[in-house]
């Protein structure tokens, strides 16, 4: 796999030359691989949101470089809009950006800005709506008549309709009820599976990330502190706790068992894994 986005030594300072000067991202380097499902976790104020706004050129680095396919995205500032079409960014609470009269028109805002043909726009809108699980019948309704969860889906479809090569979602499930959360994450997973595009999900919920992603990057205090597969990251659960993050509930159970002297792999992070580990343990005990 080759990196589709490479971040080199990125630093972003807010309010430079004022007493409020503060680095939200400080010397971050990372690679995002083509086709992977990447999770970025970090507590509030760890620089997650600032980092991802650099990936599609909404923010300009104070220093450092962002490469898309090996090309510096700021090499020609006039072409930054093309970068935004290739790297789709869904903000936190994206339902607050809806503005059109109908759901259909709102989803087509992005593709229209790309200058696509009427036919192509129509196909993309219907595809995107299907991916996020919106009923065809909703397309002619006003987005303001929908429920909170449906609005969120419309807003996500608005970015998916641009068919970006990288889809970045900032806390896509924040504020949804458990059922809505599950079904939205399932939609995102199947989007990743079917389209094979790169997906980056930003979250502070460990359980959510653990169940979905191939690789995790942990941010704390404006820098990367850990990176690896969920198994690698959660085997260092104590360090995660030290930087103020929660570990998945299942991992917490395993940690506690280990602390009490039970020989168990501390890096289990799904219910199925824990069950396997526990039954193996039980089998061992039965023999003595």
């Amino acid at each position: 796999m080759k990196p589709i986005i490479r971040v080199e030594n990125l630093t972003h300072t807010y309010g430079q030359d004022t007493p409020f000067c503060r680095s939200a991202v400080d010397g971050v380097s990372l690679d995002i691989m083509e086709g992977e499902f990447l999770g970025i976790i970090g507590h509030t104020g760890s620089g997650k949101s600032t980092l991802i706004q650099h990936l599609n050129g909404l923010l300009r680095p104070t220093s450092g470089t962002i490469y898309l396919d090996g090309r510096d995205i700021w090499a020609d500032p006039k072409k930054i809009r093309d970068v935004r079409f290739q790297v789709g960014l869904v903000f936190q609470y994206p339902e607050y950006q809806l503005f059109e009269e109908t759901v259909y028109k709102d989803i087509s805002f992005g593709p229209k800005n790309m200058g696509l043909s009427e036919q192509e726009i129509d196909r993309r809108v219907r595809d995107a709506a299907a991916f996020v699980g919106l009923d065809e019948g909703l397309l002619d309704k006003s987005p303001f008549e929908l429920s909170g969860g449906q609005k969120r889906r419309v807003a996500i479809a608005g970015v998916i309709a641009m068919e970006p090569r990288v889809l970045i979602l900032d806390e896509p499930s924040a504020g949804l009820d458990p059922a809505g959360r599950r079904s939205l994450l399932e939609n995102i997973r199947s989007y990743h599976r079917q389209k094979g595009t790169t997906v980056v999900m930003v979250s502070h919920s460990m359980d959510e990330v653990a169940e979905n992603v191939d690789r995790i990057i942990v941010l704390a205090d404006a820098g990367v502190v850990m990176s690896g597969t969920p198994h690698e990251v959660f085997s260092r659960a104590e360090e995660l706790v030290a930087v103020g993050l929660n570990v998945p509930q299942v991992t917490r159970v395993a940690m506690e068992l280990r602390r009490r002297g039970v020989e168990i792999d501390p890096a289990v992070y799904t219910v199925a894994e824990l069950r396997k580990a526990l039954s193996a343990l039980k089998g061992g005990k039965a023999s003595c």
Partner: protein, 267 residues
């Protein structure tokens, strides 16, 4: 870019200027403005400049912040100065086609520019050293007598403080919405006037909706805490004039008198 707006900004502090009663500060600002418009000579302007500098020194506000406040009105200042420069009759110094510069014109232009700049810096000094809450409290108290003729003073000052309170929130919100629409390829910087006006729709619609939602939530939250207007409402911090308030007011009154007397003798 949007974050540079300093309207109604307040810099917390503990200087004498911060500790004065807000009513005193509002009155002083009024006196200051009146004196500024009565000043006509170098001596009286010198007095006013000295007063402003003393005010800035006492308040501990960075002079840079005051000058920054002038930025949005720099055009108006220049425009006024240029008009006065060419259209004041008097002793002609330079003549060029229909344009003529007179000695009086130079003076008037200079004083006009100085007057407007000082007017703005003086009022900024008030908002920089007074929290929006203290400001509306002071205003409400000063306008109190108008209640007798059925002016809804309390409601007006409440509206003003809510408006001031939500300026930063709305700016932040606008920034967020703009970023979100940019991420979908919205373009706010290019195209002709009509294109640009149209490009504002994706910002204004969500902004209005969220402003109404906020207003609704705020109204409910206020009602939950039994807010029902100014009737019988008491204050946590009751305003009291103190010795320093009277002292500063006396000093200002003396300066106003001096400026008026100077103007009388044509100085």
């Amino acid at each position: 870019m949007l974050k540079d707006i300093t309207l109604g900004q307040f810099f917390p502090g503990t200087s004498l200027a911060h500790r004065l009663d807000p009513r005193t500060k509002i009155l002083l600002t009024v006196i200051y403005i009146v004196a500024l418009f009565c000043a006509e000579s170098f001596v009286s302007y010198g007095l006013m400049v000295a007063l402003l500098i003393t005010g800035v020194k006492v308040s501990g506000v960075a002079p840079k912040a005051l000058v920054k406040g002038l930025k949005p009105v720099i055009f108006i200042i220049c425009f006024t100065a240029v008009l006065n420069l060419f259209y004041t009759p008097g002793e002609i110094l330079v003549q060029f086609w229909v344009l003529k510069i007179t000695k009086e014109g130079i003076f008037t232009a200079f004083f006009m520019a100085l007057r407007i700049s000082m007017l703005i810096m003086g009022t900024f000094l008030l908002t920089y050293t007074t929290s929006p809450i203290a400001l509306t409290d002071g205003l409400e108290s000063l306008l109190g007598p108008l209640k007798k003729i059925k002016v809804p003073v309390h409601e007006l000052s409440m509206m003003m403080s809510i408006a001031l309170r939500f300026i930063p929130t709305l700016i932040e919100e606008t920034d967020k919405i703009m970023s979100a629409q940019r991420a979908r390829g919205a373009d706010f910087e290019s195209g002709n006037l009509l294109d640009r006006a149209k490009a504002l729709v994706p910002i204004l619609v969500p902004l209005f909706i969220s402003a109404f939602r906020r207003a609704d939530e705020l109204a409910v939250a206020m009602e939950c805490r039994c807010y029902h207007g100014g009737q019988g409402r008491t204050k946590l911090h009751v305003l009291h004039y103190q010795a320093k308030d009277y002292l500063v007011m006396a000093a200002y009154a003396a300066i106003l008198a001096a400026v008026l007397i100077l103007a009388r003798f044509g100085l």
